[in-house]
Symmetry: C2
Subunit: 339 residues, 2 copies
Amino acid sequence: MTEELITLNHGSGGRAMARLIEEIFIHHFNADSNNTELAKKNDAARLNVQTSHIVTTIDAHVISPLFFPGGDIGSLAVHGTINDLSMAGARPLALTAAFILEEGFKISTLKSLVKSMALAAKEAGVNIVSGDTKVVEKGKGDGVFITTSGVGLCDHDVSLGAEQIKVGDKIILSGSIGDHGIAVMSAREGLQFDTALLSDSCALNDLVDNMMQHFKHAIHCMRDPTRGGIASALNELSEQADKGFRIYEAAIPLKESVRAACELLGLDPAYIANEGKLVCFVAEEQAEALLAKMRKHPHGRDAAIIGEVLAEPGVQLQTTLGTRRRLEMLSGEALPRIC
Amino acid sequence: MTEELITLNHGSGGRAMARLIEEIFIHHFNADSNNTELAKKNDAARLNVQTSHIVTTIDAHVISPLFFPGGDIGSLAVHGTINDLSMAGARPLALTAAFILEEGFKISTLKSLVKSMALAAKEAGVNIVSGDTKVVEKGKGDGVFITTSGVGLCDHDVSLGAEQIKVGDKIILSGSIGDHGIAVMSAREGLQFDTALLSDSCALNDLVDNMMQHFKHAIHCMRDPTRGGIASALNELSEQADKGFRIYEAAIPLKESVRAACELLGLDPAYIANEGKLVCFVAEEQAEALLAKMRKHPHGRDAAIIGEVLAEPGVQLQTTLGTRRRLEMLSGEALPRIC
C-alpha cells in the first residue's frame, strides 16, 4: 500500500482539501456526533453562553520531535490551550485548531495526531469547534505545526492575575518539575535512561475546577510554568506583581530520574519546561487546606508549598545548603522547540 | 547598523523573548494604551460580554511573498479572521495572534508586519488581546507564519448559515473577483502589468454591520470566497445547503486588469482567491434594497446580484455566450500559499 502524503493541493481550497477535512478532521473531532458546530463546516463556530465574562487565548505548537514519551504535538496542543484558560480561572468552552502542514507529510501521521487531539479534548470535556488547514512547500515547514486557540467561561466574581498577588501569600506547586522538557530532550537526542521519563503533558482544568470550588477567593493567581520552566514563570510573575518570592529549593518536587538526567545533560530543572503543572498563589490561611484538596487529585498528588511572597522584588532561592541566591530568568542557552 | 535577526533564544521563554514581546508586540498592539488585557501579559485575555451567543474562529496564514500589492501577511491575518466572524453575523470582539518565526528572520520585517496588524485591527475597531511566539530553526519555516483567532458577539436572533438558504433567494456578490490572488501571483512571479493590480484584502465587519442593520432577517447566509475563489465557495455552500445556484457570468464584477492577467496566466478568475469580498444569500423581495445599501459602502460599491437559488443541486453558470455549464469545485492545479 502506498503511503498517502500531503500535497499542495490539500491546501488549495478545492476537492482534496474538502476530503482531508471531512475524512480526518471532522471524522475524529466529531466522532460521537455531538460537535454540531464543527460538522456545519462554516468558517466560524457559534456558541451559546450564559455569562458575562469570557477568556480567550492562543498557542502555536512547534515541538520537535512530534511524538515523545507521554504525548505528542496533538495532545500537547490541546492541553496547552486548555491550561492557559484554566490559569485564568475559566472553564474551557471550546477550542479551535489551525494546521500548517508541510508538503510530503504522511497523512497517516496526521491522522494519528488528530486522533490524539480528539482524545485529549474528549478527556478534558471540550470540543474542537472550528479549524483551518494550510500547506507549505517541502522544506518551508517541518511536518506539522499546530496552533490552538480557546474560549473559556469565567465566573463574574473570579479575578486572578499577577496584580492580585499579596505579600504573605503561599506559593503552591502542583507537582514535580522538568518532566516534559527532559522527556522531549531524551527523545530528541535518542538518550536512554534506566527509568522511563514521561512528559507530564495533561489538561489541568479538572484540577483547577476542584481548587476553585472552595477556594476561588483565596486563590490570587495561577500560572503554568511551561517554556523557560518554573524559574522564568516566577520571574515573570514577580515583575508583573512587583513583589518578591522566597522559594525553598528542598520543597520543590523533583523526580530522581529527572534530577539524574538534568545532571547528565548539564541542565537546571528550574529552567526546564512543564506541561501539566501549575504554580498557585494563595492566601496564607487557606494554603494548607488548598494543598490537601490538590493532593486528592491525580494531577496534584505531589503538590507542595514551595515558598511565599515578600515585599521586596526578585526571586530568591533558599538552597538545600542553606545559602540564598537569586533565581534569575532564563537568558541564554535555550531548549528550542520544547512546546 | 547591524540588522537584528530572530534567534532561537527569542522563542525560549527567557529574557530575549520577554524583550521581543514587550518592544514589538505589546508596543504596537497597545499603542494607544487601551488594550489593557494584552498589557497584563497573562497567557489568556479576559473579556466582558453582554450576550448569550459568541462566535469563534481560527486561521493560519502562510502567504508568500509576505508583502504584496495592497497588503501583507499581517494585515491579511487580521482581515481574514475578522471576515470569518463577520460572515457568521458576529461583531468582532477581540483577536489573538500566534507567530511562528524562522531563525534568522529580520526583526525589522517582523516590526513592519506587527505595525501593519496593529493598523488593520485599529481600522476595524478590534484589539489583539493575547498572543504567542515560537521560533523554529533556519530551514524549518519560511520567515513567518501568523495564525489569528477571533471571538465575536452575535445577536440572539441572528442565525446565518448554509442551512438557511432558500429556493428563490438572490445571490449578491459584494464586488469584483480575483483581485487578491492576481496581485499575489504578480508579486510572486515578478510580473509587470500596465495597470496596478491591488489585493482587495480588507475587513468586512463595517459593511456587514450596515447590511445587518436593516436586513438581518432577510439575509440567510454569507461567505467570503477566499482560497479556491467564488467557484469553490459556491460549490461548498451548494453542497451544505443541498440546493442549486444559477449564476450569470455577465453579472460577476471583474476588473479588466484582472481579466487580462488571468488570460495571460491561463487562470479562471472564478477560482482565484479574494480577501475582501462576500457572497450573500438574501430573500428575493429584499434583494434590491440590500444591494442599494451595500453599494453605498466603500467595500460594496461594485456589488451585484449574480444569481439565484434553485431546488436542484449543483452550481450552474449561464455564460455570456448564452450557454450553460456546471461550475465545478477546484480539483487540481492550486495557487499555493495565497493566504
